[in-house]
C-alpha cells in the first residue's frame, strides 16, 4: 500500500545552507507538473466541499424522512436516499468531511511520530537503532488492516478512536522510511563538517537532518492520507470504527450493503468518491515525487 519513496541522492551539499532555499523554482515546477495538476483538480474540490459543508445549502445529513426511503437519484435527491430516507448527497459530503479529516490527521500524526522515531534510530545508530529497528520490524510483521482492527477492538468505536488506531498502525512504516532517509544522509560531507565544527546534536538534527528529509515525506504524506482513508473505510465497513449514524464513507457503504440489490447507489456513490479521491492523492504524490526527485529529472532529459 505504501509506495517506495526514492531519497534524493544528488544533493552533495546541503542546498539550504549554501545557496538559500531553491523553493521558488520547486513551487514553479510543482505547479507545472501534469500529475500534480490532475491530482489537485480532484483533491481540491473534495476538500473544499468537506471543509465548507456546514455552511453550504445541503440537507441535514441525519434528517430521516421515512416517506422517501430508498428513492433512486432524482432532482430533489441527486444521490437518492437511504433506508431511513436520509439524503445521500449530503451524507456523502458529510462523510467526506469525516473520512478526509481522519485520513489527514492519521497521516499527519503517524508521519510526525514516525519522523521522530526514525530520525533517532537512523542518526544515533548503535544499540538505540538495533532496539528501535527490532520493534519496528515486529510491528511491520502485522498486516496493516489487522493492526488497525486489533487497536479498534481495544479502543472501541468512534472517530477519535479510529484516528488513534490508524495513526499507530502507520507510524512504524513512516519510521522505517525516515530511518532509511536519515541513514543515507548521515555520511554526507556537510554532516561531517557540521560534526567537526562541534555543532550540538540537536542543532544538527534540526538544521540539517530534518529539513532534508522533509521533501520525501511530503510525497509519503499524500500516500499515507490515501491509505488512511482506505483503511478507515474498510474498518468502518466491518462495523467497527465509525458506526452509523455518524457518516463516513465506510459506514455509509456498509449501510448500503443490506439493500445492495435494490438501491446499489447508496453504497456505490461513496465508494466512487473514495476511489477517485484516493487516485487524486496518488497523482499528487506521484507528481510531487517527479518534481523533487532529481534522478527523475535526469531520466526526462535523456
Amino acid at each position: 500500500m505504501t509506495a517506495i519513496v526514492p531519497v534524493p541522492e544528488q544533493v552533495r551539499t546541503n542546498p539550504r545552507s549554501l545557496h538559500g532555499p531553491p523553493r521558488f523554482d520547486v513551487v514553479h515546477r510543482l505547479v507545472a507538473n501534469r500529475r500534480v495538476i490532475a491530482g489537485l483538480v480532484i483533491v481540491v474540490p473534495f476538500v473544499a466541499l468537506a471543509l465548507f459543508f456546514p455552511v453550504l445549502p445541503f440537507r441535514p445529513p441525519n434528517a430521516s424522512s421515512l416517506g422517501d426511503r430508498l428513492s433512486s437519484p432524482s432532482l430533489s435527491h441527486p444521490f437518492g436516499t437511504d433506508t431511513l430516507g436520509r439524503d445521500q448527497l449530503s451524507r456523502t459530503v458529510a462523510g467526506a468531511r469525516i473520512s478526509i479529516m481522519v485520513g489527514v490527521l492519521a497521516a499527519a500524526i503517524s508521519i510526525s511520530l514516525g519522523m521522530l522515531i526514525g530520525t533517532v534510530a537512523g542518526y544515533f545508530g548503535g544499540w538505540v537503532d538495533s532496539i528501535v529497528s527490532a520493534v519496528l520490524n515486529v510491528f511491520l510483521s502485522f498486516p496493516g488492516l489487522l493492526i488497525g482492527l486489533l487497536l479498534v477492538a481495544v479502543f472501541g468505536p468512534g472517530v477519535w478512536q479510529i484516528v488513534a488506531a490508524v495513526s499507530i498502525a502507520f507510524t512504524p512504516r513512516a519510521a522505517r522510511l525516515q530511518r532509511a532517509s536519515v541513514l543515507s544522509m548521515r555520511n554526507r560531507p556537510y554532516m561531517d563538517a557540521a560534526r567537526q565544527a562541534a555543532a550540538p546534536t540537536w542543532w544538527i538534527l534540526l538544521r540539517h537532518v530534518v529539513p532534508n528529509t522533509v521533501s520525501p515525506m511530503l510525497v509519503v504524506g499524500s500516500i499515507f492520507t490515501a491509505d488512511a482513508i482506505l483503511i478507515e473505510a474498510t474498518i468502518s465497513f466491518t462495523g467497527l470504527g465509525i458506526v452509523p449514524p455518524t457518516p463516513s464513507w465506510g459506514s455509509i457503504i456498509k449501510g448500503g450493503q443490506a439493500v445492495l440489490r435494490e438501491a446499489w447507489w447508496i453504497s456505490l456513490v461513496p465508494a466512487m468518491c473514495l476511489i477517485v479521491f484516493a487516485i487524486g492523492l496518488h497523482l499528487l504524490a506521484d507528481g510531487t515525487r517527479q518534481v523533487i526527485d532529481p534522478s527523475e529529472q535526469l531520466e526526462k532529459q535523456r
Binding site: 482492527l149 477492538a153 482506505l230 474498510t234 462495523g239 446499489w264 484516493a278 487516485i279
Partner: protein
C-alpha cells in the same frame, strides 16, 4: 544456503515472540477492564472476579505475558471466554478457508501477473504500448480501490444481479465443488486487486533485463528472442516480483477479512470480527497472532526463494 535457511528458521522464534508481546500488551494495557466489557450489562462483582482470574488478569503484566508466551510455544493459546472451546480449536476450524483463499489469490496474482507483464514487455519492445497503458491505468485504480468495494461490486454483479454464484449457505471445505463455487468470486476479486501492480513490476523488470549486456551476449551467439526471454529475462526479472509477492500477501490477508464478511465465509476474518464484538479477547489475540505468523512465514519463504535464485546476495 542451508545454513542461511536454518538461521532464518531459528530467527522465527524471537520474531513470533515479538508478535506475541505486541498482541498481548495491546490488549492487556488497553483502557477499561476486559472482563467487565466481556460480561456485558451489569455484571456481578463475583462474576467479574471469576473471569479476571480465568483470564489471568490478576497477575502483573509481565507474569501474564510470560505465561502467555509459554503457552504459545506449547501451542496453547488459551480459552475462549464466550464459548467453551479453546482458542486453538476455534482458530483451527476457521483457518483452512482463509489460507485457501489467500494462497490461491497469491499464486494466481503472481502467475497471471508475470504472464501479463511478460506480454506487455514483449509488446512494448515492439512499440505497441497499449497493454502497458492499460496495466498502468489498472494499477492506479486498483491501488486506490479497497478490497471491500471490489467485493461489493462483485457481489452486486455476479451474485445479486446475475445470480451466477452463490453467496450464502452452508460451507463445507471438503465438498470441492461447493468450495470452488463459493470461493471463486472472492479469490478472483482479490487476484484482480493485486494483478496490475505485479504485472507492471514484471514488465519493467523484464524490459530492464532485456537491455542488459548479457542478453546481448546471448543474442550474439544465436539465441532467439524468445529463448532469451525465457532463459535470462524471466529469471532475473522475477527477483523483484518475489519480493513484491511477500508484501502482497499481507494485503491479501487483510483482503480476506472483508471477503469473508461480504461473502459470508467461515474463515478467520469472520471469527475475528465476531469475537471483537463479543469482547472475547483471548480469541482476538490468538487470531491476530496467527495472521501475523502466516505473513511472517510467507515472507520467509519468498526470501529464501529469492536468495536461492540470486547467488549474488551475500548470505549474512
Amino acid at each position: 544456503m542451508l545454513r542461511y535457511t536454518l538461521r532464518r528458521l531459528a530467527q522465527l522464534v524471537p520474531t513470533v515472540l515479538g508478535l506475541v508481546v505486541v498482541v498481548y500488551l495491546v490488549l492487556r494495557l488497553a483502557p477499561g477492564d476486559p472482563a467487565v466489557s466481556a460480561l456485558g450489562e451489569n455484571p456481578t462483582a463475583e462474576s467479574v472476579a471469576r473471569l479476571r482470574e480465568r483470564m489471568g488478569l490478576n497477575q502483573g503484566v509481565i507474569p501474564g505475558l510470560l505465561d502467555y508466551m509459554g503457552g504459545v510455544l506449547r501451542g496453547d493459546l488459551g480459552d475462549s471466554i464466550v464459548e467453551t472451546r479453546s482458542v486453538s480449536q476455534i482458530i483451527g476450524d476457521s483457518l483452512p478457508v482463509t489460507i485457501v483463499m489467500a494462497s490461491a489469490a497469491l499464486v494466481l496474482s503472481v502467475m497471471l501477473g508475470v504472464v501479463l507483464g511478460a506480454a506487455a514487455a514483449y509488446l512494448s519492445s515492439r512499440g505497441r504500448d497499449a497493454l502497458d497503458h492499460g496495466l498502468t491505468g489498472g494499477a492506479i485504480v486498483m491501488e486506490a480501490t479497497p478490497a471491500f468495494v471490489l467485493g461489493l461490486v462483485g457481489l452486486l454483479l455476479f451474485v445479486l444481479k446475475l445470480g451466477w454464484l452463490p453467496a450464502t449457505g452452508i460451507f463445507d471445505l471438503v465438498d470441492i465443488g461447493n468450495t470452488a463455487r463459493r470461493l471463486a468470486l472472492p479469490v478472483a476479486i482479490l487476484t484482480v486487486g493485486s494483478l496490475a501492480t505485479i504485472a507492471r513490476l514484471a514488465r519493467t523488470s523484464i524490459l530492464e533485463v532485456l537491455n542488459e549486456d548479457y542478453v546481448r551476449t546471448a543474442r550474439s551467439l544465436g539465441e532467439s528472442p524468445f529463448a532469451a526471454l525465457r532463459g535470462h529475462a524471466l529469471r532475473n526479472a522475477l527477483l523483484p516480483v518475489m519480493t513484491l509477492s511477500g508484501i502482497t500477501f499481507g494485503r491479501l490477508l487483510g483482503g480476506t477479512v472483508v471477503m469473508e464478511l461480504i461473502f459470508t465465509l467461515p474463515g478467520m476474518g469472520t471469527t475475528l470480527l465476531k469475537t471483537i464484538v463479543d469482547r472475547d479477547y483471548p480469541v482476538v489475540q490468538g487470531i491476530v497472532l496467527v495472521y501475523a505468523i502466516l505473513y511472517v512465514l510467507v515472507n520467509l519463504i519468498t526470501d529464501l526463494l529469492y536468495r536461492r535464485a540470486d547467488p549474488r546476495v551475500v548470505l549474512t
